[in-house]
């Protein structure tokens, strides 16, 4: 599109939206749209043509109707904390900010549910439930900022999901609007809903199927107490094996996290969590429940950890100490951000038994690419967050980082895992989707998308690569002489 044409298109769209939205809710001047040019994945930026900030469901409906009739792409956005570029704006479309949907509509302590608008922050749900002895379980590290709507889009996890599940296990019902503005409800406050499980399909769909306007979540009773063990290991692989030993002993800890020494060192300078910096790796193993239950489980876990070769185990003595141990884990990303101009966070998930092997592989990649890579993991889930340190101003480092990350993600797939455990594909991992899936699966994903959004207007180009893109990517990444998607025509 020529510049003059795109400018007139922008004014046309803005005018159509301002017919029913207040002026301040439709932004199109560069100074106003600039804050929306990226989400938490700042390496990708794009100015949106127009930003819309609706406040009511009816306004969302009218925006969607305008966009679908004008064939304008729409990208929904929550707090913009996503790490895969899922909310990267469309240069030729509308960025639909749900930030004004901030109301908690209902908290029913007896039914243990909360009904909230999608712009409500994750941590707020637990805050409003707390007076009733209840809480919302999924706790992504960004929980003070990220919204429940974004959590639904990405199927977010957190440090307690081994025991309490992901977003998909804790959301009961969604209300939303299709791209044509048709209202729909999936799931129920009852245990199930009739027909196909569209609730499960919608969660983690990265805003590609419909726009969520209301979320009903399950609240859980807050455990009476929780304690965490910090276990030190002189070898990273031993720590990895200890994780499998705990599970094999029939214990499902409330949290089971691992950090290697480069990560604990970065964190310690930042928050002084009290980590053992002599250890090659530490494990944080949490137990929750009644006092007696926790006492019992902590004793069992300590025995397993000692047998697995832990050189030291420190058990939190009180709630303040427990929170301090966790504060380091939760601050791992910003802490790493302080020791390097930029970092690139990966999100692969692997079978736990391959942890040692993948860690060694990552160590090899550090040498190969000459880049440092501290590691933090949701070890209990096998979900890795290696953080590659680089300087984005150095084009060569950026390029090496991308190659490094691609190799690690492909390794995750090769050992039977996945390219993303909880951050989503977005724009970031779209090429690796070609490694993870074959042509037929990708075709089916596009067909699922079309079932909801025939014109491909909702968050287009994200999460599922076109087959042409895979063909091009495959040409660049030939492994062992085998070309992925050999059936596709090449350019």
């Amino acid at each position: 599109m020529g510049e003059a044409l795109s400018l007139s298109r922008r004014h046309e769209v803005a005018r159509a939206l301002r017919a029913f939205l207040p002026q301040r809710a439709v932004l199109f001047e560069e100074e106003d749209t600039r804050p929306y040019e990226c989400d938490g994945l700042t390496a990708y930026r794009q100015l949106p043509m127009v930003v819309a900030l609706p406040e009511t469901e009816e306004q969302v409906q009218r925006i969607l109707r305008v966009c679908s009739s004008m064939q304008i792409p729409v990208v929904p956005r929550g707090a913009g904390t996503g790490l895969s570029g899922g909310a990267l704006p469309p240069g030729d479309g509308v960025l639909l900010s749900m930030a004004k949907f901030m109301r908690v509509l209902r908290v029913d302590p007896r039914a243990r549910v909360a009904v909230v608008q999608p712009g409500v922050r994750n941590a707020v749900i637990s805050e409003v439930a707390a007076p009733h002895g209840l809480y919302y379980a999924p706790d992504p590290s960004s929980q003070i900022a990220c919204t429940i709507g974004g959590n639904v889009a990405e199927n977010s996890g957190g440090v307690h999901c081994l025991k309490y599940g992901l977003t998909v296990h804790n959301v009961l019902r969604l209300r939303g609007l299709t791209i044509d503005g048709e209202p729909l409800e999936v799931g129920a406050e009852a245990p199930d809903a009739p027909g196909l499980d569209l609730l499960a399909l919608a969660i983690g769909s990265e805003g590609m199927l419909f726009v969520v306007t209301e979320v009903t979540v399950k609240l859980l009773p807050k455990p009476q107490c929780a304690r965490v063990i910090m276990a030190s290991f002189d070898d990273v692989e031993k720590a990895g094996n200890a994780v499998a030993d705990i599970i094999a002993a029939g214990i499902i800890p409330a949290g089971l996290e691992m950090m290697d020494r480069p990560a604990t060192r970065a964190v310690e300078q930042f928050v002084a969590a009290g980590y053992d910096l002599a250890a090659a790796a530490i494990l944080l193993c949490e137990s929750d429940g009644t006092e007696a239950e926790v006492e019992h489980e902590i004793t069992r876990m300590e025995a397993v950890l000692a047998a697995a070769g832990a050189v030291r185990c420190t058990v939190s003595r009180n709630e303040a100490e427990r929170l301090r141990f966790w504060s380091g884990r939760k601050a791992a990303f910003p802490a790493v951000g302080r020791i390097s101009p930029d970092y690139y966070c990966m999100d692969g998930t692997i079978p736990r038994k391959r942890l040692g092997e993948v860690l060694n592989f990552i160590a090899g990649m550090e040498k190969k690419y000459g880049l440092r890579c501290p590691n933090v993991f949701h070890a209990g889930d096998g979900n890795l967050h290696p953080l590659i340190l680089f300087d984005a101003n150095n084009a060569d480092e950026l390029h090496r980082t991308e190659e490094f990350a691609a190799e690690v993600l492909e390794k995750c797939v090769a050992v039977g895992g996945t390219i993303t455990g909880e951050h989503g594909v977005g724009v970031e991992k779209i090429n690796q989707m070609c490694t993870q899936f074959g042509t037929a699966e990708l075709e089916l994903f596009h067909a699922v998308k079309h079932a909801f959004d025939r014109g491909t207007l909702l968050n287009p180009g994200k999460a599922v690569p076109t087959l042409a893109r895979c063909a091009e990517y495959g040409r660049m990444h030939v492994h062992g002489g085998k070309l992925p998607h050999p059936e596709l025509p090449r350019f």
């Binding site: 209202p183 196909l196 399909l201 214990i251 239950e293 038994k353 979900n383 994903f445």
Partner: protein, 341 residues
């Protein structure tokens, strides 16, 4: 049988627009609408493909007897936490396709919550793989959970990976006598406290509460709840051999919010108040809907009115579009879920 043979069979049927009736052990023939089409017996594609207790995952082919899967898990101190009903010689694939959960559902989650991945043969005979064997996976749409409970209308579930959990160390059942209103109130109150309640059953003035967990947790909860410790047969409610389920009158399954007040007819209540079984007619659809839930005609000689609650037009259109994406020729278990699919 090979997977390729199943795939060829489906591709051939799609070419000829021939309806296929996908069936494992036939234990859930009664469930859903009447099945029609040429029989595809999935039992020959069987076997546990992978089981690693420390990974908490089991992967098995569709024809594997569900009993064999459970026995294999029990040998290593693990279980399928959603306690699926067998209703006879159930297969693993049929269990996933039916999507039914048993007594522990309210505390542990439903079958769909434990699905990690599937290998699916779609209506074109294509062999597709979604999800995997890892606990967290957000690459692509969650097709694995979508096909759980789809009654074979989207594809033949050739293989599935499910998350498993360790069996509880200690289990006990407490019995309390109370009327329906008090039972509903008690179950909802306990569910709001951190207690290891793993199943509840109210029927005819008697409430049974099962506790499962570590010894100190169960002991502490038993003190809190009270009642008399009894030996209770939870298998009878899971498999519907409990006397309430005897007889041929239409059996309805009402799935409602757990806090729904007493509905005013004789029932058996599970899942902390959220699952209510009763006998009756079509009027129950409206009763369940008003309560914020839905009613399924679970067992009946005549299901001409449809086994499942009707969908609103937007959802039905999406169902049809999805069916068309997976099975464009419309040959897989046509009509089993809804007449339109």
């Amino acid at each position: 049988m090979t997977l390729q043979a199943l795939s060829d069979r489906i591709r051939d049927a799609a070419d000829r627009r021939l309806a296929l009736r996908l069936r494992g052990g036939g234990s859930k023939d009664f469930y859903g609408n009447e099945a029609r089409g040429e029989l595809v017996d999935t039992r020959a594609y069987a076997g546990i493909a992978d089981y690693e207790p420390s990974e908490l995952v089991i992967t098995a082919r569709c024809g594997t007897p569900l009993a064999e899967v459970e026995k294999t898990l029990a040998e290593r101190g693990q279980c399928l936490p959603f306690e699926p009903p067998h209703f006879g010689a159930a297969t693993f694939g049929g269990c996933v396709a039916a999507g039914l959960s048993g007594p522990r559902r309210a505390s542990s989650g439903a079958l769909r919550d434990f699905v990690l991945g599937v290998k699916l043969v779609d209506g074109r005979g294509r062999i597709l793989q979604f999800g995997g064997q890892v606990m967290k996976n957000v690459a692509g749409y969650d097709v694995s959970r979508l096909v759980a409970g789809s009654l074979g209308t989207l594809g033949l579930i050739a293989e599935a990976s499910l998350k498993v959990l360790p069996r509880a160390q200690v289990e006990c059942t407490l019995r309390l006598e109370m009327d329906e209103a008090r039972a509903l109130d008690s179950m909802n109150r306990w569910a709001g406290e951190p207690l290891p309640v793993s199943a509840t059953l109210w029927h005819a003035g008697v409430l049974d509460v099962r506790l499962s967990g570590s010894e100190p947790a169960v002991r502490g909860a038993a003190k809190r709840i009270g009642g008399a410790e009894v030996k209770s047969d939870w298998n009878a409610v899971r498999e519907q051999t409990h006397p309430f389920f005897a007889g041929g009158a239409p059996l309805w399954r009402l799935s409602v919010p757990s806090v729904t007040p007493p509905l005013g007819f004789s029932q058996l209540i599970e899942w902390g108040g959220a699952l209510r079984w009763t006998r009756g007619g079509n009027a129950l659809r409206e009763v369940a809907k008003r309560a914020g839930g839905h009613a399924t005609l679970f067992r009946a000689a005549d299901k001409s009115g449809g086994a499942f609650a009707p969908l609103d037009p937007v959802l039905m259109r999406l169902h049809r579009e999805l069916k068309n994406a997976f099975d464009p020729a419309g040959i897989l278990n046509p009509g089993r879920l809804y007449a339109e699919l």
